[in-house]
Point group: C2
Chain length 342, copies 2
DNA sequence: AACGGTTGCGGGAACGGTTGCAAAAAAACT
DNA sequence: AGTTTTTTTGCAACCGTTCCCGCAACCGTT
């Protein structure tokens, strides 16, 4: 239970703790090579582990970045974290992960915890586009840079990185229409997630462009989870309306809808085309594989880290900037081929 | 960039920092109710955030548990973390998550980092059954309790919690045989994961019990990922052997195999039954839904936390204990119904 | 021998909280 | 009023590390 400290090492060797500290820090300027070697070996031998708490306290910074994500079900956030951790670690930063579980109050607790741990910066994907906006501002006003990724946040002057939801939607829905679909159901995302509005807007833009009627009956709240998606699908089926495609806010909800349809023996894509935005590897694991606008996860992580690291390097200097990435439409088996020009 | 400290609050109110500290700690014994109220309000107003580093340094403990997981692709570990976090938070513990990416050296770095952060205990799922065993021992000998979950670890005297892989295997394979399958391919897990051996043993036991021949040709190294599973499946198909079922070490590898089979128009389960151990929600999202022995994720998390918390409560007292949980066989669409008794 | 410069090291004050102990203040007894 | 008891507060040490400052030893130069 007792950890070895630099004082223990100092006593062991009959030198001062300053020397030990310098030796372990590799300060070649101020410590003789032999001493350095001796100290490091003794530290190794005695099983010394630096006490981060002491370092943080003294240095007034933690070399730690907090990452807040809304959920751990989809692989997107997990994969984002993996990329981000790699980038951050390369710059000597640790990461501490907090999950808000899509709940505003839990999100607040997460942020408070991160502040207590004196994180140097925060990468954040919000669970509500505006509910905690004031808190974000407060944190940033204390000098802790935040970069928001994936989910857009409203009314906060901060760096953001997300995909162009409108055009992602446009691309995907156009693909559907060009493949012959005319009555497209949209599984709408939760209204408190800004991206949902944009994706719906893209959907409507395409209908307009192709002079197709917009019928609100074809819009169902599909939530985020597979269960919600399944429920939404059943709800729509109740309405008894003809349809030939389902375009979903997110992967999981479409997969929920998919299982409902397959259970009712709809053929995919012959009877119904399926597609969504924000696809991950999951899309390739299901059958038929799911057409989707893929999140550029790696790029998003790189960008978010870059924006954050820039702010950390030049405190208070950087103006917030928003980077909009482009998702890649990947057509797979769940949508029909684009037909020859009519 | 400057945080408010208890000294700032003390100066503001003209009291000592001891009083502020006690007031914020809610020490009703030693501080007048009015003072307490005043201090708390001022702290609130000034935007005070306790410095965890200072507390940890003074208290010689961090109230933090480290969780090390091998990967972030499958939802199992994510979901485990979520449950564990809930239990631990209830007892006042924070969590810090580290990912070893299935690499022994990265796992060592993770553990070193956790030690530096002076975590009070570690929940761990290893990436190799024995490679870092000495390190685990060393950590535990320093008085940091570790509990190993899901993946078994060899040659270490520590608490573990995992499912009964042999009987899980037995149950699943028996189901296959009772549903009429006779030539069952097994996608073997990596040899450095102890559970793989047990699952293979279960497979063999059933064959023996039913007096079916064991043919090593039907065992293919299926790895962990979907890609590896797909590759293994193709490798097996090359052999040109007849088969009517695939039983896999894990979900993802079977899903990889599944996409290969479906691309080649095998009907599931009519031509080939599919099933695996260690299924998560993913099994219900694919089509046809996948029969599997489900991980009792929640129970495993509860148990692991309980074992760890017990050790934390009575330092050095608890003998290591191994808890073996039972997975639940969930039959879904990818396997045929069990036939009437022959 | 005296000089400035470099090198290598030790002393000690921070960093922000907690906590045992003593002292002061307030309350409750004679 | 004085005494005891209780409540409330302040003092100071401490946790492990960093880092500024100062000291001594040694160097080569004059």
């Amino acid at each position: 239970m007792k950890y070895v400290t630099i004082i223990d090492i100092a006593n062991e060797l009959g030198v001062s703790k300053s020397t030990v500290s310098r030796a372990l820090a590799g300060d070649a300027q101020n410590v003789k090579p032999e001493t350095m070697k001796l100290v490091c070996e003794t530290a190794q031998r005695m099983g010394y582990r630096r006490n981060e708490a002491a370092v943080n306290l003294r240095r007034q910074l933690s070399k730690t970045i907090g990452i807040v994500i809304p959920e751990v079900v989809t692989s997107f956030f997990m994969s984002f974290i993996q990329w981000a951790q790699r980038d951050l670690r390369q710059q000597g930063y640790r990461t501490i992960i907090a999950v808000s579980n899509e709940e505003v109050t839990q999100e607040r607790e997460c942020l408070q915890m991160l502040e207590q741990c004196r994180v140097d910066g925060i990468l954040m994907s919000v669970c509500h586009q505006s509910a905690n906006a004031a808190l974000y501002q407060e944190i940033m006003s204390r000098g802790i840079p935040m970069v928001f990724f994936d989910r857009q946040v409203c009314g906060v002057e901060a760096s953001q990185v997300h995909i162009d939801d409108v055009s992602a939607s446009v691309f995907m829905v156009e693909k559907l229409i060009r493949s012959g679909c005319r009555r497209i159901v949209h599984l709408l995302g939760p209204e408190h997630i800004g991206n949902a509005t944009d994706r719906l807007r893209g959907y409507r833009e395409v209908l307009e462009k192709f002079k197709l009627p917009y019928n609100p009956q074809y819009i169902v709240a599909g939530g985020l989870s597979a269960d919600e998606g399944a429920q939404a699908m059943e709800e729509f089926l109740q309405r008894g309306l003809a349809f030939d495609a389902v375009f979903g806010f997110t992967e999981t909800s479409v997969l929920g809808a998919k299982s409902v349809l397959q259970r009712m023996n709809f053929r995919i894509p012959d009877d119904v085309s399926l597609c969504c935005i924000s696809g991950t590897t999951l899309c390739t694991l299901v059958h038929p594989t799911l057409s989707a606008v893929e999140q550029p996860t790696e790029e998003m992580a790189h960008t978010a880290c870059r924006l954050l690291l820039e702010q950390l390097a030049t405190p208070g200097q950087c103006r917030p900037q928003t980077v909009v990435l482009h998702g890649e439409v990947v057509v797979r088996e769940s949508t029909k081929a684009v037909q020859a020009q009519a």
